[in-house]
Amino acid sequence: MKWKFYWREALNNLWLSKLRSILAIIGILVGSAAVVTLVSIGEMAKYKALSEFKTLGMNLASLVVNQNMDFNAGIDLTRTLIPDYNYAQSMLTLATKVANIQEVAPVATLSLPAYYAGKKLEAPIIATTYSYQTLANLQIQEGRFLHRLDRNNYFCVVGSDIANQLKNNGSNSIIGKELQLGNAYFTVIGSIKPWIGNAFISNNVNGSVFISLAAAHNFAPNLYIDTTLLQLKPDSDPDQIETDVKNFLAAKFPGLEVTVKTGKQLIVSMTHQKNVFTWMLGLIGGIALLVGGIGIMNVMLVSVTERRREIGIRLAIGARRADIQIMFLCEAIILATIGGVTGIIISLFITRIVAEFLTWEFMFSGSAVLIGFFVSLFTGIFFGIYPAYQASKLNPIDVLRAE
């Protein structure tokens, strides 16, 4: 019964100090909107990254040879195998030697100058096999990708950015155009549609020129296999495959150390990273909320100072100290709740606009709403306690005498 009275009194008091109440609410509102919006954006970013990766990379694994680099002595060739063309040939047998591997694509990046019609192209050259198309989920814009039978042919396929550069120089079709890569000439047989990226594949597909590994070996014998992409069969155990691959390589190349990264591991690490990102954003919002809380405290302290006589009268006619504390706390809680809820509603619109703008799937994180609401409420209570305590400490005689 008494609580009804407390809440009604608090609402009445806030209503009678509208401007001050609105200012306090704005402080909390901005903080709450910041927390909920930033956490929701973090969640959307995480979902976006993971969903892309899950469609493209869940069954992928990558294999990189560890280099035992001793920077004082240089590369210890006695202990280290250079992952060259022969190594790549061995890797290509993995699909038949290790269970549950569907496709293998060794990848070497060549740092050779590329020219078209005498003009230099800023394009890394990626030497790989036809399987790369499947592994990276490349969509063909024009012509075709490298084929199993292209092995020694001097054919190349270009990413969308390179294709655009070739088009700028003349005709619409780029098929049949000649690119000079190092000292060799390659014929363009296809172009790739703009590639949206894949957290598993670090190559800049859109800005690269693709040639077959065998052709690369012919004119650049010292090619270096940066990484080998593997496609695993669905529902296979990535950990088991990692063990099998390592055993296979240990038998083939004793002393070779490799690192195998699977999609599963990457998802775990991506989830972790994105969670850290989300928490960082939440923390930034939390700082805004803290400022809002300090705003509430200031407004409440001003209110206590202004209402000293009222407090004195209430104490004189029988209010307990707790009654005064609760009265001010109720006001702080109401301000924080209105600010928190309004902030959540505003953040709903902001998140929606951001999602539209970035063409992300709109998601409004339930946990963000709960965090936003309860942190606002907690902020209100926390920053309302001190002014409430100050109010209840007043001595009715001093206050009434001073007034």
Binding site: F5, N12, I317, G318, A319, R320, R321, A322, I397, L400
Partner: protein, 229 residues
């Protein structure tokens, strides 16, 4: 039966490095149902005495008993509860809450008693009616005249049915006509309810209307006169 008993009360204030006795070894007994005036010049100690009798302040030395109960070991909340139930205050400047209307101001002491709001409203309306203020029940204090405000304050003091009414210069902020009305109201209230009413005033004409006059000077009682009415 004595309602109030003050036994060798001393109240000392520290003013800078100097200690100042505002009440000096004051002994006083007030019977239940009395209408008492406490008079004295400014600084004579009458407001300090009222604060002690009203449990708003504690004496430095001596013992104060209200209805035989002393208050040495009570905390601020216990004192607030006793003030709420036993004592009604009427102040010179009314001290109504400007945010609340007349009815809500009268209901306020009952709200701290945790009683049903409907019952509280009934009681408040009853006292407003007795004060002839039913028609202004929904108005805020600033919309009322000084006399109306003081009558609202008297209704607020009476709504909890206290045994003691303490009025500190209740006519000090009113014109002479309204002062007479308020004074008559106290006299009439006393006649009808037989409540103990203590009026603190510096106006001898008001004091003349009371049954007992206690005059203070420099913290001491210099006159204590029972009058037959």
């Amino acid at each position: 039966m004595s309602l109030i008993k003050l036994d060798h009360i001393v109240k000392t204030y520290q003013v800078g490095h100097e200690k100042r006795d505002v009440l000096k070894d004051l002994c006083l007994t007030i019977k239940e149902g009395s209408l008492v005036a406490i008079i004295g010049a400014s600084g004579s100690g009458k407001t300090t005495l009222m604060n002690i009798i009203g449990l708003l302040d504690q004496p430095t030395l001596g013992e104060y008993q209200l209805r035989g109960q002393s208050f040495h070991n009570l905390n601020a909340d216990d004192l607030a509860r006793i003030r709420n139930q036993e004592i009604g205050f009427v102040f010179q400047f009314f001290y109504l809450l400007p945010r609340l209307n007349a009815l809500e101001n009268v209901m306020l002491p009952l709200q701290y008693q945790n009683i049903d709001p409907k019952l509280a409203q009934e009681k408040a309306l009853h006292w407003l009616e007795k004060m002839g203020l039913t028609h202004v029940a929904q108005q805020k204090p600033q919309q009322l005249s000084g006399g109306q405000q003081q009558r609202v304050a008297i209704a607020r003091a009476l709504v909890t049915n206290p045994s003691l009414i303490l009025a500190d210069e209740p006519t000090g902020a009113l014109d002479s006509k309204t002062s007479d009305d308020i004074l008559n109201l106290f006299i009439s209230l006393h006649a009808h309810t037989q409540k103990t009413i203590i009026i603190i005033t510096h106006n001898p004409q008001i004091a003349e209307q009371c049954h007992r006059i206690i005059q203070l000077q420099d913290g001491e009682i210099i006159r204590d006169e029972e009058r037959q009415k």
